[in-house]
């Protein structure tokens, strides 16, 4: 019989439960052996949906890490736990797939990277799901082929459907804000398409609370526009929104010196168009999972393959730190209304007043 990766999932919330099912059901070379969540309700879900398939449900992260034969861990609990649990798993010599962002703090993110760098034989992946999406990969291949010339401008947006409840407000308490939580994907795509070694030159941002009153108490907005300059003549600009009427609309555009490409310029949930008296209508996906389900499954499978076959991961962990750094700078610029500048080494340039 073939060897299967022995993996466990920490966190059985919305996304953690999906990760668990992806490893249980849709990752043929992996075997889900354990799952942990501090929340009894989440564990009850696990007992119902995972335990019958031989998955042990833990109420202690440490106990889960000690599961006999465990090789790898998915860290998918609350954002504040991402870094400590990842570091702890690395120390326990486990491979890790950690949900994004590593942390809402640059320093803490960097500590995860430091821990990983000490154990180069371990695979430590930050779960930027869009990296596994077929369309973004086709886009990267085009860019990489030189078809667009030198990539110069990136426009990218992460736009959620409006919710009438207070989900976004509660979420905002710990999410780090719209640029750290949502547009971090767009920042990661930028590093992918412009090159992982791109060095940020300046960051500025503006935003408003237009519909989801209450976000302002956490220094957050429901609509934000951020602009990032990179040294070497490259610019990325982002839009994040929690206010879409029709559904989720994540879109990216890469403009090179000799061509351009767009990803998801005309969003659609499926291939149906309806002709009715009011015109022609199509539905669009409601959530990011509607858009990226296949990418998440691909992520599980490629992470598994990388561990089992000791293959290179599709991207380096250092990029995840860089993405948090830029996301945090955007959020700070949003709050202060000030442009933040960096020198050619990527180190922040303090303005005169700040230096005093």
């Amino acid at each position: 019989m073939v060897r299967k990766l022995q993996i466990a999932v920490s966190g059985l919330g919305r996304m953690g439960a999906r990760h668990a099912l992806h490893f249980l059901e849709r990752t043929p070379r992996a075997e889900l052996v354990g799952a942990f969540d501090p929340n009894p309700a989440a564990r009850a879900w696990g007992k119902q949906h995972l335990e019958p398939y031989g998955v042990t449900i833990y109420d202690s992260y440490e106990a889960m890490l000690a599961h006999p034969g465990l090789e790898a861990v998915v860290v998918a609990g609350s954002t504040t736990e991402h870094a400590p649990q990842t570091i702890r798993a690395i120390e326990a010599d486990k491979h890790v797939l950690c949900e994004k962002p590593l942390s809402t703090s640059v320093e803490i993110s960097r500590s995860v990277l430091d821990a990983a760098n000490k154990k180069p034989h371990l695979k430590v992946l930050c779960g930027f799901s869009r990296r596994f999406d077929a369309s973004y990969r086709a886009a990267f291949d085009q860019i990489d082929s030189g078809a667009l010339g030198r990539p110069t401008i990136i426009r990218s947006q992460t736009c959620d459907k409006h919710r009438d409840d207070d989900y976004f407000i509660n979420y905002s308490k710990h999410s780090g804000g719209i640029f750290v939580d949502a547009n971090v994907h767009d920042i990661d795509l930028t590093l992918w398409f412009f090159g992982q070694d791109s060095i940020v030159k300046s960051v500025s941002a503006v935003g408003v609370v237009a519909r989801t009153k209450g976000l302002e108490q956490y220094g957050d907005v429901d609509n934000g526009v951020g602009v990032v300059e990179f040294w070497g003549g490259k610019i990325a600009y982002y839009f994040g929104s929690r206010m879409m009427a029709a559904g989720q609309h994540d879109e990216t555009e890469v403009i090179g010196t000799h061509g351009k490409l767009s990803i998801n310029g005309t969003p659609a949930q499926n291939l149906v168009e309806i002709h009715e008296p009011a015109g022609v209508r199509r539905e669009i996906g409601q959530t990011y999972y509607d858009r990226f389900e296949q990418a998440f499954v691909k992520e599980s499978n490629e992470f598994t393959e990388a561990v089992l076959d000791d293959k290179k991961l599709p991207f380096q962990l250092s990029g995840a730190v860089q993405a948090v750094k830029i996301g945090c700078a955007l959020q700070e610029a949003l709050r202060s209304g000030k442009k933040i500048e960096f020198d050619q080494m990527g180190d922040r340039i303090m303005d005169e007043k700040a230096r005093l």
Copy 2:
């Protein structure tokens, strides 16, 4: 001062009034000098909208033909008058732009051609407006360049928006039926794209009255599907409908041995898309004039130019006879439920029973 084509319009109904305005306002090298309509209400419209610009309004076609200096006539009245008025204008030595179809009878259509052939110095054009549409012309250029290989299959549809009144029923009395009236455009496009000399091999059709009850009394339908084989391995198939919910949708597809093209596969009235809770919606044009307005204006201008500069018309009158022949055969096949076959000369093959 430059010379302008002295032209008059016969028929000030829906389409005739538009022709009059196109020549009055949007055909710089033409001068509209006269207009005729037997209907007092239509003449009243002419007196209000045309006369102030120096256009003489006539209550007799013959009188209009006698307008001093008149060089050309647009024949745009009722279908039954197309052929006699065109022939009369030719006899009076006028150039003619005649609305489609020449007639609902093949024989009468042919008599127009005969009349025109006797006066080769006159320009006689049948107003197949789609021939002047920028998209159809771009399509023809592609086909003509050989990019698609040998054109083999054409799918083409003329689909009107549903009307709650009895317009289509009254219209059906004299229109010759859906294939003669509406799909004659698709047939004409077929002759353009397959070649004017294509010879029909067989014709068959089916149809239903689904919503516009009353059409059946005139042997007509509100949804018809027709199939035409041409000698040399070419097939065209058509759909005609009076039942569209969203608006007018005329669409054509040409499939060659090495490529394909579509015209108007995703209809839209303008460039706006609206994202709302029910999805993403766009409006589409409501009438054929919404779709082909610019083509009609181009038609006026090119007809004028052909006469003034003695240039070749963009297509020959003989095709219009051929189009009526195929349209009438489709309508007959619809009524009889029988396939109609033609020999390689294009002459109809009578079945045994018919021969007896």
Copy 3:
């Protein structure tokens, strides 16, 4: 531990191998236990890709059927084996998922239905993959909701990418021809959208061999147009092609009295559009599997669920017989050039000559 459906796959050709992998890797509630193929090369593939996961590879269909604990069989070998193997599996009291078509013969198809009817406790499913496609299901829901009014016209096409080799010619020997092999999907969709009990009134078809010379020896074409009337004022018309330049393009349109919908009107392989000097370009899927992969996986899972939970299959086997009947009639009409007519019971009306 949970119970998993014990299933085996007969036929490890192109599609059979996919079925095997779908049940092995992407159908959590099923366990692939056996696989059979008469061809040593196919078995070698199975030994490499399936055996390591505990799947027994058989060189005898009967031996596979005798696999201990086997509950269900996928019949995915050559078309001529579909019916005998399905019947044999039913006799051995196994549930069956049989690839389409049941047979290229109406009579043989009916014998499969008869066998299944004798064992109503067995689930016997004909693998019309489009029935499991998310877009077609969304379309059905719209139709079923009454949003389009009464469905009246269906246009549906199955168009393969051109191949330079002789694949289609060899395939044509046993496939039953383009209408039986390819458009049978469109016929099945018609029965779904018009209602499973729709009764065919007439069938006619035309076609040409435009590029894949050699098809004519098997009475087949590379481009075919078929028209089917149903009693009660409904019409379906189909296009089948083996000559697409850009890739696979399967498209369907349903026109009701009060609205219309299209499925896959603007095909695309992914969400990328490339702006380059020649214009804006997108790629489209190359094969039916590019288009329907997720539908096949859904099919495996729903079949498994229906067996394990004794749920109704999403559609009845009788429709598969009806689809073959219409497909064969279209192919016959293509060859004879004659329209075939049926009475209101769906029984064929013989013309006078044939009756003698």
Copy 4:
């Protein structure tokens, strides 16, 4: 006979020649009586194309203004002449349609407004062609109907096709830069959709010279991103480019609290899509005139109608000054790298250093 507006055109360059032809040929209620250009080559064009139709060609603007019976003037020469010629025409008591921008200087723009305010009986229109475009008007109607809720975010871009020659470099000398010349349209649209009385709060911009080396000498870029905050919680962000590979791509998106709309999200030159081995391709317009030709013609006609019938112009001249003000601020922010801030009266807030 009806009265026709006696109008003359100053400037017969690329756009001026088009204005002249629009008034000569496509504005039925206007009569083009004169044209002026200081350049002999341009006058030669006028003598060939306009003079034969009775248009007097002038080599002096003053002489043209003195044309007997002249009522209105189109000012379409070089940008530096827009303001002085417009003011001179107003003084001579002529109605004026002036090409955008009024000036590249805010102060000079304001002086035009002052001149116009002194003669309220004159119609003075700044030629923001997009205001006359059918799609933008349909968008405005949607917004105005409240369908989107409160407009909150506008994204708008003006993107020209790359040119291999030094056109853009020479043009940049006097154009005022990309934000003043190109994105001024997007700014004007913003004022339309957010409301003419919107007050700017801050302006920032970044840009690069990626392909058209030489622009930097004029403080210009070939790719610029600008962000404008308005008091009251509204944000507009712009992209301007001279580097598109496929053609002109002007696109706008308006996001409201309850819905969104896009204009020209999927650009196309016509309705043709070509399926070829590399995929599905469509062409897009090459120039802004390909996109806005009908809008320019509409502009001529509505200006004419406003004068003849003493109707309100579709928008006020003051907006054109506001647009120049924002465009110039964006260009300054681009050059300085500094954010520019305004108080709630729209007056610029000087930073401490600048105040000293």
